[in-house]
C-alpha cells in the first residue's frame, strides 16, 4: 500500500488538464483582434504529457494507485501515447480549417484537451466507476466540439444528437456497472474477476445481463451496429477536424477500455460474451460496408467506413486475450494514423467555409494537388487493407486473431466485406486520378501545419506497413499487463 499516494500515473492527464485551463486563460487575456497562442500552448502541453508517458514507460511498472482506480501499466501507456499523438496531429490540422470556417477560438483547443484528459483516464482506469467518469469527461468535451461551429445547423444537430445518444449509452453502461456490482460486490476489475471466478451458477444470469449492458454501452461509443445510428450524422455535422480527432481518438480510448473490461475483468464469462461480440462484429462489418456503398457525401462515407472498422476490430475480441490485445492495439495505431489523415486531407482543402463534400468535388485533384491526392490515396489504400500499408498488417493481425480464436467465419466476413469497401474507397481514387477536374479550383491551398500532420500520417502508414515488428512487439508487451 506504499504506492497509495504515488501520483505519477496521473501526471500525463494532469499536464493536459492544466494546459487546457492555461489555453482558456490565454484566450481570455488576449486583446480583441489578436490571436491567442492556443496552438503552441496545446502542442507544448501535449508534448509534455507525451514525454511524461515515455518517462513512466521507461521506469518500473506501476500498479494500481488512487485506491486501485488507476494504473500506468503497459496497456494504459501504449494507448496514452497513441491518444496524445492523435491529439497533437489534430491540433496541427485545426488552425487552417478553423480559420476557413471563421471559428478559430481558444475554446476549441481547450475542449480538445479536456476530452484528451478523459481519454487518458479511460484507458488507465482499473475500476468501473472511474472508467465511467473518464468516459463522461471525454464525451462532454466532445459534445461541445461537435457543436463548435454553432452558426451551422448541421453542427448543432451533430452536437445534440451526439449528446442524446451518448447519454443514452451512458445509462446502459451505468446499469451494466450496477448489475456487475450487484453480482460481485465490487467495481474494481480485479475484484470483479476474482468474484466471478468463485460465483455460483445462480449469479450467472445477472452477470451475463450486466455484461450485455456493458457491451451495449461500449457498442455506442465504438459505433458498432446496431448502436451506430448517430455516427453518420455526428461525423458529417461536426467540423471536419473534430471528426478526424473523434474518429481516431475515441476509437482508441473506447477499445482500450473495452479490452480491459472484457479481456481482463469479465474474461471468465468469455464463453457467454464471445458469441455476442462475434455476432455484433459480423453485423457491423456488413452494415457498415454496404451502407457506405450508398453514400455520396465523403464524410458520411468515412463515417460508415469507421463503423465497418469497428466491426473489424471487434472480430479480434473473440481471440485468446494475448492475441486480441496485440492485434487490436496495432490496428488502433494504424487506424488512427489513416483516419486522421483521410479526414485531415478533406479538411486541408477547406477555403471560406467550403470543403469537398462528395467524390465529384475531388475530380482531377491529382492534377491540382498532386501530393495531397497521393496522400489521400495512401490512406484509402490503407483503409482497404492493401499492402504495403499499416492497414494491411493491421487487418492481417485482426483476422489472424479471429482465426486463432476458431472463428474462421469472422475472418471470411471481414475479408469479403473488405472487397466491398474497396469499391467505395476506390471511387474516390477514381475521381482524383481518372476524372478530369470540374470547373475552377474552389478549394484552398494546404496549410503548412496540416501538411506536416498529413506527412506524418503518411509516413506512419507506410513505415508500419513495411516494418511493423517494433510496434507489434510493443503492443504485445503492453498486452501482458492485462493478463
Amino acid at each position: 500500500m506504499n504506492q497509495l499516494l504515488d501520483l505519477r500515473p496521473v501526471v500525463p492527464a494532469a499536464i493536459v488538464a492544466l494546459t487546457g485551463v492555461v489555453v482558456l486563460l490565454a484566450q481570455a487575456f488576449t486583446p480583441r483582434g489578436e490571436r491567442a497562442p492556443s496552438v503552441a500552448l496545446s502542442l507544448a502541453g501535449l508534448l509534455g504529457a507525451l514525454v511524461s508517458v515515455l518517462l513512466l514507460a521507461s521506469g518500473p511498472a506501476r500498479g494500481a494507485v488512487l485506491a486501485g482506480a488507476l494504473a500506468a501499466d503497459g496497456l494504459a501507456l501504449f494507448l496514452q501515447a497513441v491518444i496524445l499523438v492523435v491529439a497533437m496531429l489534430s491540433v496541427l490540422l485545426s488552425p487552417g480549417y478553423l480559420q476557413s470556417s471563421g471559428i478559430e477560438r481558444g475554446e476549441h483547443y481547450a475542449l480538445l484537451l479536456f476530452s484528451v484528459v478523459g481519454m487518458l483516464g479511460l484507458v488507465s482506469s482499473l475500476e468501473l466507476v472511474s472508467m465511467f467518469v473518464a468516459l463522461e469527461i471525454m464525451s462532454v468535451a466532445l459534445y461541445g466540439l461537435a457543436g463548435f461551429d454553432r452558426t451551422r445547423p448541421e453542427s448543432q444537430e451533430s452536437a445534440l444528437k451526439y449528446f442524446v445518444t451518448g447519454s443514452f449509452a451512458s445509462a446502459f453502461l451505468l446499469y451494466g456497472i450496477a448489475l456487475v456490482y450487484g453480482v460481485t460486490g465490487s467495481t474494481s476489475l480485479e475484484r470483479v474477476t476474482r468474484a466471478l471466478g468463485v460465483a455460483g451458477p445462480d449469479a450467472l444470469p445477472l452477470a451475463v445481463l450486466g455484461t450485455a449492458l456493458l457491451l451495449v454501452g461500449f457498442g455506442f461509443k465504438v459505433a458498432s451496429v446496431p448502436f451506430h445510428m448517430w455516427t453518420p450524422d455526428v461525423y458529417e455535422g461536426a467540423p471536419t477536424t473534430v471528426t478526424a480527432f473523434m474518429s481516431a481518438g475515441v476509437k482508441a480510448a473506447a477499445f482500450g477500455a473495452l479490452l480491459r473490461v472484457f479481456d481482463a475483468g469479465l474474461v471468465s464469462l468469455a464463453g457467454h460474451w464471445q458469441p455476442l461480440v462475434a455476432a455484433l462484429a459480423i453485423v457491423t462489418m456488413l452494415v457498415g460496408n454496404f451502407a457506405a456503398l450508398a453514400q455520396t457525401s465523403l464524410k458520411r462515407l468515412l463515417a460508415y467506413s469507421s463503423i465497418a472498422h469497428a466491426g473489424y476490430l471487434m472480430s479480434a475480441l473473440v481471440a485468446p486475450p494475448a492475441l486480441a490485445v496485440e492485434a487490436i492495439l496495432f490496428y488502433l495505431v494504424a487506424y488512427a494514423a489513416v483516419n486522421l489523415g483521410a479526414f485531415g486531407a478533406i479538411a486541408a482543402l477547406a477555403r471560406d467555409g467550403r470543403e469537398p463534400l462528395s467524390a465529384a468535388d475531388l475530380a482531377g485533384l491529382s492534377e491540382r494537388r498532386p501530393l495531397l491526392a497521393a496522400a489521400l490515396s495512401v490512406f484509402l489504400v490503407s483503409l482497404t487493407g492493401i499492402p504495403v500499408t499499416a492497414g494491411f498488417v493491421g487487418k492481417f493481425y485482426l483476422f489472424g486473431a479471429a482465426v486463432a480464436g476458431g472463428w474462421v467465419a469472422l475472418a471470411l466476413v471481414g475479408v469479403l466485406t473488405s472487397v466491398v469497401s474497396a469499391y467505395y474507397y476506390l471511387r474516390i481514387v477514381v475521381a482524383m486520378y481518372m476524372e478530369a477536374p470540374l470547373g475552377e479550383d474552389r478549394f484552398g491551398r494546404v496549410p503548412p501545419a496540416a501538411a506536416l500532420a498529413l506527412t506524418l500520417s503518411v509516413m506512419t502508414t507506410l513505415a508500419f506497413g513495411i516494418w511493423p515488428a517494433p510496434v507489434l512487439s510493443l503492443a504485445r508487451f503492453a498486452g501482458r499487463s492485462l493478463l
Binding site: P387, V388, F399, G400, L412, L416, M434, A469, S473
Partner: protein, 510 residues
C-alpha cells in the same frame, strides 16, 4: 564466375529505386523520366541475366536470402528462385524495358507517373516470383494490383475506369480468400511459420487441405484466368494501354499458374491430386471456349484477349496433369504465351496508334501498305498457333504429352483447341492483311518505325530461338518440375501418372 551479392533482392530493389528517382524528377522533364525508366529496367534485365548464368540445373532454391521480418509470427523476408520461377523473373525483366520503349511516344499525359507505375509494377511482379514466404508473397501479390489499376484507369481507352475497377475488385476478391487460407494454414500446420519450404514439408490434414486448396485456387484461377473466372480479362485487356496489356498478358496472368505450382499444389498435395480432374476439365473447357469466342471477335484486341483464355487453358491442363513433362510444358508455355501474346498486343497497339481503330472489318490488304509489319505479325501468329519451329509448338506438345497419361480424352478435346487456334488466327490474318487494300484510310499507312522494330525484334527472335533451342530453357525447368511432381505423389499410394524422367523436349523441337 563471380556473382552479385543479394542478386534477388537487388532485382526487386532496382526498379523500386528507379521509381523513387522518377518521382523526384521535375514534372516537366518527361524525357528524363522515360530515360531513367528505360535505363533502370534495362539494368534490371542485365542483372537478372546473372541469375541464368549462375543457375545450377538442379531442384531446390538458389540465390536464397533470408531475414527475420516479423519474428513473433514466423514471418521472414525469404526470397530465392528455382526452375519454376527463374524464367518467369527473366520474362518480367525482359518485357518491362520493351514496354517502356514501346510506349515511348504513345503516352502523352502524366508521363512521369506512367514510368513510376511501370517500375513499381515490375518490382511487385519480380517480388511475387521470388517470394518464399506466404506473407511476403501476399504483400507483393496485392501491392502489384495498385500500379496495374492506375495504368488501366489513367492511360486506358474509353471504358477504362470500368475496366480498372472490375480488374481490381475481381483480383482482390480472389486474393482475400487466399489470405484467409494462409491464416488457417498457419494455425493448423503447427509449424508457426509462413515460410513456404518449411510448410511444404508437413502438410495439414487432407480434409482441411481441400478447403485451403480451394481458397487459394480461386485467387489463382481468377488471375490465370480459368473459365469461368475469366470475365474480367477481356475488359481489362481491351481497355488497358498497350504496355498495360502486354504486362497483363505477358506476366500477370502467369502468376496464376505460378501460384498453383509454388503454393496450392505443394502445400496441399492431397487436395491437389483429388481436385486435379476438376482443374483439368475447367482448363479444357477454357481452351475450347476461349478459342470459339476468339473466332467471332470483330475487335483485334479482344480476339487476342480471348485467345489468352485458350492458351492459358493449356497451361492449366499441363499443371493439372501433375507429371514432370506436363509441368515443364506448362512453365514453358507460360513463357511462350508471354512472348507471343505480348508481341501480339504490341502489334495491335501499333496498328491502333496509326488508325485509332481495332475493328478487323476496317482493315484488309495491309500486306501491301506495311510489308514489314505483316512479316513480323505473321511470324508471331505462327508462334501463337504453335507451328513447329516456334516456341508455341514445344510448349503445347509437352503439355499434351504430359497430360496423355492423365486423360487421353481430355487431350483429344484440348487438341481441338490447337485446330481452332489456327482457324481464328489465320482467318484474322487473312482478313487484315490479304485481299485488296480497299479502305482509303489504310492507304499510305507508314510501316514500322525503327523504334517499333527494336521493340518487336527481340520478341520475334526469342519466339524462334525458343522453338529451336528449347532444351536450353527446359533443362533448367525440369529438375524443379520433377521435384514438385515427386513431392506431390509421395503423399499418396497411387503411382505417378507418368513416370518422372527426362522430357523429350529436345526431340520435339528437332
Amino acid at each position: 564466375m563471380p556473382h552479385i551479392p543479394h542478386l534477388v533482392s537487388l532485382l526487386v530493389a532496382l526498379p523500386l529505386a528507379g521509381a523513387l528517382v522518377v518521382a523526384l524528377t521535375p514534372r516537366a522533364a518527361e524525357t528524363l523520366a522515360k530515360r531513367v525508366g528505360l535505363g533502370v529496367s534495362f539494368a534490371t534485365f542485365l542483372a537478372s541475366l546473372q541469375l541464368v548464368s549462375g543457375f545450377k540445373d538442379v531442384a531446390g532454391y538458389q540465390f536464397e536470402e533470408r531475414l527475420a521480418w516479423i519474428p513473433s509470427w514466423g514471418i521472414s523476408y525469404h526470397v530465392g528462385v528455382d526452375g519454376l520461377s527463374l524464367w518467369l523473373v527473366i520474362l518480367t525483366t525482359f518485357l518491362t524495358p520493351l514496354c517502356l520503349l514501346g510506349s515511348w511516344s504513345q503516352i502523352h499525359s502524366r508521363v512521369r507517373e506512367f514510368v513510376l507505375f511501370m517500375l513499381l509494377l515490375e518490382a511487385g511482379m519480380i517480388g511475387v516470383f521470388v517470394a518464399l514466404d506466404l506473407f511476403l508473397f501476399y504483400v507483393f501479390w496485392e501491392a502489384m494490383l495498385i500500379p496495374m489499376y492506375f495504368l488501366i484507369g489513367i492511360w486506358g481507352h474509353e471504358r477504362r475506369i470500368y475496366a480498372a475497377v472490375k480488374f481490381f475488385l475481381y483480383t482482390f476478391a480472389g486474393s482475400v480468400l487466399m489470405l484467409v487460407a494462409f491464416l488457417v494454414l498457419y494455425r493448423a500446420s503447427g509449424a508457426w511459420t509462413f515460410d513456404i519450404p518449411a510448410l511444404v514439408v508437413s502438410p495439414v490434414a487432407p480434409a482441411l487441405q481441400t478447403w485451403l486448396f480451394l481458397g487459394c485456387a480461386v485467387a489463382f484461377a481468377i488471375k490465370v484466368p480459368m473459365f469461368p473466372f475469366h470475365t474480367w480479362l477481356p475488359d481489362a485487356h481491351v481497355e488497358a494501354p498497350t504496355a498495360g496489356s502486354v504486362i497483363l498478358a505477358g506476366v500477370l496472368l502467369k502468376m496464376g499458374g505460378y501460384g498453383f505450382l509454388r503454393l496450392a499444389i505443394p502445400l496441399f498435395p492431397d487436395a491437389a491430386q483429388r481436385l486435379a480432374p476438376l482443374v483439368a476439365v475447367l482448363a479444357v473447357v477454357g481452351i475450347v471456349y476461349g478459342a470459339l469466342v476468339s473466332l467471332v471477335q470483330p475487335d483485334l484486341k479482344k480476339l487476342v484477349a480471348y485467345s489468352s483464355v485458350s492458351h492459358l487453358g493449356f497451361v492449366m491442363l499441363g499443371i493439372a496433369a501433375l507429371s514432370t513433362i506436363g509441368v515443364t510444358g506448362a512453365v514453358y508455355q507460360m513463357l511462350n504465351h508471354g512472348i507471343s501474346t505480348g508481341a501480339l498486343f504490341f502489334l495491335v497497339g501499333m496498328l491502333y496508334d496509326r488508325r485509332h481503330t481495332r475493328l478487323i472489318s476496317e482493315f484488309g490488304g495491309l500486306r501491301q501498305a506495311m510489308p514489314w509489319y505483316f512479316a513480323l505479325f505473321l511470324l508471331i501468329s505462327l508462334s501463337s498457333i504453335a507451328v513447329p519451329g516456334t516456341n508455341g509448338f514445344v510448349g503445347e506438345f509437352l503439355i499434351l504429352l504430359g497430360a496423355w497419361g492423365f486423360s487421353p480424352r481430355l487431350v483429344a478435346f484440348a487438341s481441338l483447341g490447337v485446330i481452332l487456334a489456327a482457324a481464328y488466327v489465320l482467318w484474322m490474318v487473312k482478313r487484315v492483311f490479304y485481299g485488296e487494300l480497299k479502305n482509303p484510310k489504310n492507304q499510305g499507312l507508314p510501316d514500322l518505325s525503327p523504334r517499333e522494330v527494336a521493340v518487336l525484334l527481340p520478341l520475334v527472335a526469342l519466339a524462334i530461338l525458343m522453338g529451336v533451342l528449347s532444351p536450353l530453357f527446359t533443362r533448367r525447368i525440369e529438375p524443379a518440375a520433377d521435384a514438385l511432381v515427386r513431392q506431390v505423389h509421395q503423399h499418396t499410394l497411387k503411382a505417378p501418372a507418368v513416370a518422372p524422367g527426362s522430357t523429350p523436349a529436345g526431340e520435339a523441337s528437332r
